[in-house]
């Protein structure tokens, strides 16, 4: 009961709050209703940021730009249509949402397709806001009955008008408050649903580990742009509501201060909580209302500044975040099961089944070939004209000194690095220029050196999201993830957060995620690193089984492990092919001993 309530708290409490707000809306002091309406609108603006920041991982300082632009656009339409046809909302809201979404998508395209760093993205979004602020001061335009008059702003915006026709009257403050509550609640619940949907799950994964998400075959840039566009639409709706509320817009909406106020709402309420921004706006709005409402010069900024500092220092997750962790303290810890694991044992029969099944759905194993592949970083050339064919049947090992370019070679194959020359093909397909996710969809699966798992998600969810990347079907993904879970022997830990697993278990989970993709070519970068000897033995079994059905390339330092694979070994040195053959021949090769194995006793 207690746990159920916790899990659906994002639905129940906002619903109760909405009902309560509607219940009191009639009896509220008209003036308080008027002011409180603006808090709800700011909360909605905060929600738009929470979508892209708390969920999407990008601190956007352009939310006020979408808000302002959406507001202007919707207001212009409303000014022209509402006096004749009424229904200011029906004109303003969709136009604002659309315009906000378009601008956000355009900015998102630049940010995400350029693959900008986090700070740089934030700054670019901020630049947009600043640019608007300086340009709109003098921007003058007449659109029908609407006059955008530079810093004098846009006035004459109709209020909240619900009726049709010329006679329709604008709503009184109390009714307007109830209306804004309803609209905001609707947007909130849609957002809540969206963030819980499969789309939302992918958004979450991108935030947690963007590279891993792309390595699962998701077109992360598209998802990010869509998410940003949605957040822009929400901001646009908030902008329209604000325009109708204030009946006036002005370039100060794009000011530095406004832009930075939005993150505060989110932080106060709790980042990533969706409902938090409303609470944050209510607290900040209430605070500045209470402090600065009178004639005596309230030192609102002084107090707000102090509150902000204290908040960052002492209440990192905001009010809702803090309440949530307090609540969790009274619930059983789902991660307890993590400590009860025994040693991993691969069930080869199940593994065979999975691989046969995969072959049926994804087709036969593919060759991976490189032809004169070339990659440089400044003066360093980690991949220097490597031509090599990898075929199914037996495992291929890549060894070589540190810095020989083994990892870089794998990363070039999977597309994490873009080669400057040569070609890379998967089967008959030339994938040299294809983005990472496209290669994965064509059948490549890669596991990086460090285990990459979505720490906040449970073990089952991790596998599910990997399976869903290929199948795009919830039921099939359920089945596949359950099967792999059983094969890895992690059944008891299915509800444990991946971050609670030990390093070795995370390695296995990561490998399991790669298997969920039913890859036709598997690239493993030092999979045995950090594994105990018995785990390494299990791994060897797994790799050998895998190689019967797919092409497998393994980078490894552990010579004992390489030996047990009984496969083909390639030695790389300074980015070039140096030697190849089986491990025995190489051990007898003087050159290899010189550059790599050494002649000591510790090998």
């Amino acid at each position: 009961m207690f746990e159920k309530l916790y899990k659906s708290s994002g639905l129940i409490f906002p619903a109760l709050a909405t009902i309560a707000a509607l219940a009191v809306s009639g009896s509220l002091d008209a003036y308080l209703a008027f002011v409180a309406t603006s808090w709800i609108i700011f909360g909605l603006l905060g929600l738009s940021l929470d979508v892209i920041w708390g969920r999407g991982g990008l601190l956007s300082l352009a939310q006020t730009a979408f808000y302002g632009l959406g507001g202007y656009f919707g207001a212009v339409v409303a000014i022209n249509m509402a006096p004749t046809y009424g229904m200011s909302l029906v004109w303003a809201l969709p136009c604002s949402a659309l315009f906000g979404a378009l601008i956000a998508a355009a900015l998102g395209y630049v940010i995400f397709y350029a693959r900008m760093g986090a700070l740089q993205s934030t700054i670019l979004s901020y630049t947009l806001t600043l640019l608007l602020w300086s340009v709109t001061q003098t921007f003058k335009l007449d659109v029908g009955a609407a006059t955008i008059g530079g810093d004098n702003g846009l006035s004459g915006i109709p209020g909240f008008v619900l009726g049709f026709g010329e006679e329709a009257k604008k709503l009184k403050p109390n009714a307007a408050f109830a209306l804004v509550v309803c609209i905001s609640a609707a947007v909130y619940f849609v957002t809540y649903w969206l963030m819980r949907s499969n789309f939302g799950k992918i958004v979450d994964c991108i935030r947690i580990d963007i590279q891993k998400t792309e390595l699962l075959g998701y077109d992360i840039r598209k998802v990010q742009v869509l998410n940003f566009a949605y957040s822009g639409a929400v901001a646009g709706i908030a902008g329209a509501l604000f325009a109708l509320w204030a009946n006036y817009l002005n370039p100060s909406i794009f000011s530095v201060q406004e832009a930075l106020l939005v993150p505060i709402y989110v932080l106060v309420g709790g980042l990533g909580t969706l409902a938090g921004p409303f609470l944050g706006a209510l607290i900040i709005g209430g605070l500045s209302f209470w402090l600065g409402g009178g004639a005596a010069g309230g030192q609102t900024t002084l107090i707000l500044g102090t509150v902000l500092i204290l908040l960052v220092l002492f209440l990192q997750n905001g009010v809702l975040g803090a309440l949530g962790s307090l609540w969790r303290r009274f619930m059983p810890d789902p991660n307890n099961a993590a400590r009860l694991t025994g040693a991993v044992q691969i069930d080869t029969e199940v593994l065979e089944d999975i691989l046969v099944e995969a072959e049926k759905t994804a087709g036969p194993a593919k060759n991976l070939s490189t032809d004169e592949a070339f990659k440089r970083f400044g003066g360093v050339i980690p991949v220097n004209k490597v031509s090599r064919d990898f075929t199914p049947g037996e495992p291929h090992s890549l060894i070589g000194p540190n810095g020989a370019g083994k990892s870089s070679f794998l990363k070039t194959c999977v597309g994490l690095y873009r080669p400057e020359g040569g070609t890379i093909s998967l089967g008959d397909e030339d994938i040299t220029k294809a983005p990472v996710f496209a290669r994965v969809r064509s059948g490549m699966g890669m596991k990086n050196q460090k285990p990459q798992v979505f720490g906040e998600k449970t073990v089952r969810e991790n596998l599910w999201i990997a399976a869903y990347a290929r199948t795009k079907d919830s039921a099939k993904s359920d089945a596949i993830s359950a099967q792999i879970l059983g094969m890895l022997g992690l059944g008891a830990q299915s509800g444990v957060q991946a971050s609670a697993l030990s390093h070795g278990q995370q390695q296995w989970l990561d490998i399991g995620m790669v298997l969920c993709l039913a890859p036709r070519v598997v690239l493993l970068d030092e999979p045995a690193a950090g594994m105990t000897n018995e785990e390494t033995r299990e791994l060897s079994v797994l790799v050998r089984t895998l190689a019967k059905h797919t092409t497998v390339v393994v980078v490894e330092h552990d010579m004992e492990f390489v030996r047990t694979l009984e496969g083909h070994v390639t030695v790389l040195h300074q980015g070039k092919l140096f030697a190849e053959g089986d491990i025995k021949t190489l051990r007898a090769n003087d050159a290899v001993l010189d550059i790599y194995l050494g002649r000591g006793e510790h090998v």
């Binding site: 109760l16 707000a21 308080l32 810093d151 004098n152 609470l279 600065g292």
Partner: protein, 405 residues
């Protein structure tokens, strides 16, 4: 969680409403005031607010309006535009005011003007501005750009010569003033040889100073806004140009500029405004004495304060004349050609445009950060507003006229 908080807030604000209401219970006539008492614009806001309180005190001392005491419901807009809308709505929805005195910037006026128009409450805007605001509820007591520039350009062309350069902020006040400079220059047979409109964020005026030198004008019309733009005057002087090129302005000295600028840069700059503290008249002497008794003499009194003083007295006169504080009667009285002996000379409220006919002074900055009046132009009319805005003919007009081009 959310609900309880809202309840608490609700109760809090209700109690404050009750407190405010009870404190105002014995007052008969209430007026609202929204000025920037904190934040970057408070140099104007505090003085405007001071002038308002002083004027109300003066009115009450003279027996109030129709024998009733006037009380003020005041708000601090904190130099934030959104606060203006919020408090304007508050005063309408909650306070039951009979008149509103508010605003400094044009955007603050434009933000709240529709609210008072809808609520049908007289609204007094008291600040020098670019001109053109027009609706039945709005009354402007500051001087408009055309009003000041008309006489200034006349004087400047005569004194310095026919080649004019414009340095102005890049928003409505600057660009519309620029328009009038072009017009009045042409009227006087002079020529605008160059112009530069600057963002408020600019701190480096080297480009402007080069452009001015490249255009080699006889006089620069400089309309710096904010402390950063005041830096222009400093840099202009430091480049050694002040001695060869004249500098005139319609807003230099409207706030603090003459204090911020060092004496070597400020001396000799010419400004044209509706009020300077150095105006010599009995009304000004009495006003300054009352002001100093109340607030001391640390800072020079700005024109905006006098505009507020005038607004309050015009309103009080109208209420007394109408015999009631009801809007319709008061507007009718205000539109009856009221005059008032103001600190800056006799002012007359134009019935059609709701703007003031008033004296404009040309003054020159002296070595003590003060001004010496050079010439007085009496009874200058707001010609543009009179031409565009006739609220007697068209009471339904609600516009902000901007000159074409």
């Amino acid at each position: 969680m959310k609900n309880t908080l809202k309840d608490v807030l609700g109760r809090l604000s209700l109690t404050s409403v009750i407190a405010l209401a009870s404190s105002a219970a014995f007052a008969d006539v209430k007026v609202g005031a929204i000025f920037d008492l904190t934040g970057g614009l408070n140099i104007y806001g505090i003085q405007q607010n001071n002038a308002l309180n002083l004027a109300i005190k003066n009115v009450n001392a003279a027996g109030g309006v129709n024998g009733e005491t006037v009380t003020v419901v005041g708000y601090d807009a904190q130099s934030e535009l959104s606060k203006y809308t919020q408090f304007a709505q508050t005063s309408v929805l909650r306070d039951g005011i009979s008149a509103m005195f508010a605003g400094l910037t044009s955007s603050s006026r434009e933000a709240i003007r529709p609210i008072f128009r809808e609520a049908n409450i007289p609204y007094f805007y008291s600040s020098l501005y670019e001109g053109g605001a027009c609706d039945r509820q709005t009354f402007v007591t500051g001087s408009s750009a055309s009003q000041q520039l008309n006489v200034l350009m006349n004087w400047a062309v005569e004194t310095y010569g026919p080649k004019i350069y414009i340095m102005a902020p890049d928003y409505n006040f600057g660009t519309i003033s620029g328009h009038w400079i072009h017009k009045f220059a042409a009227d006087n047979g002079a020529e605008v040889v160059g112009e530069d409109y600057l963002a408020l964020s600019v701190t480096d005026y080297a480009p402007t100073i080069q452009k001015i030198q490249a255009a080699s004008p006889d006089v620069v019309v400089a309309l710096p806004v904010g402390a950063a733009q005041t830096g222009f005057l400093e840099q202009f002087a430091a480049a050694g140009l002040k001695d060869t090129i004249g500098v005139v302005s319609t807003n230099y000295g409207s706030g603090n500029q003459q204090v911020v600028v060092s004496p070597q840069a400020g001396e000799g700059l010419v400004s044209a405004m509706g009020y300077f503290p150095s105006v010599e008249s009995d009304a000004n002497a009495a006003f300054k004495a009352a002001w100093e008794a109340e607030y001391g003499s640390d800072t020079p009194i700005v024109a905006g304060a006098v505009d507020v003083w005038n607004a309050v007295h015009l309103w009080a006169a109208a209420v007394n004349k109408a015999g009631t504080a009801d809007t319709e009667e008061v507007i009718a009285a205000l539109e009856s050609g009221l005059t008032f002996e103001a600190p800056n000379g006799t002012v007359t409220l134009e019935p059609g445009s709701h703007h003031l006919r008033q004296d404009v002074y040309i003054a020159r900055g002296n070595a003590n950060s003060g001004f010496d009046i050079v010439q007085t132009f009496e009874d200058s009319a707001p010609t543009y507003e009179n031409e565009m805005c006739d609220l007697i003919e068209n009471p339904d007009l609600a516009e902000h006229f901007i000159p074409e081009g």
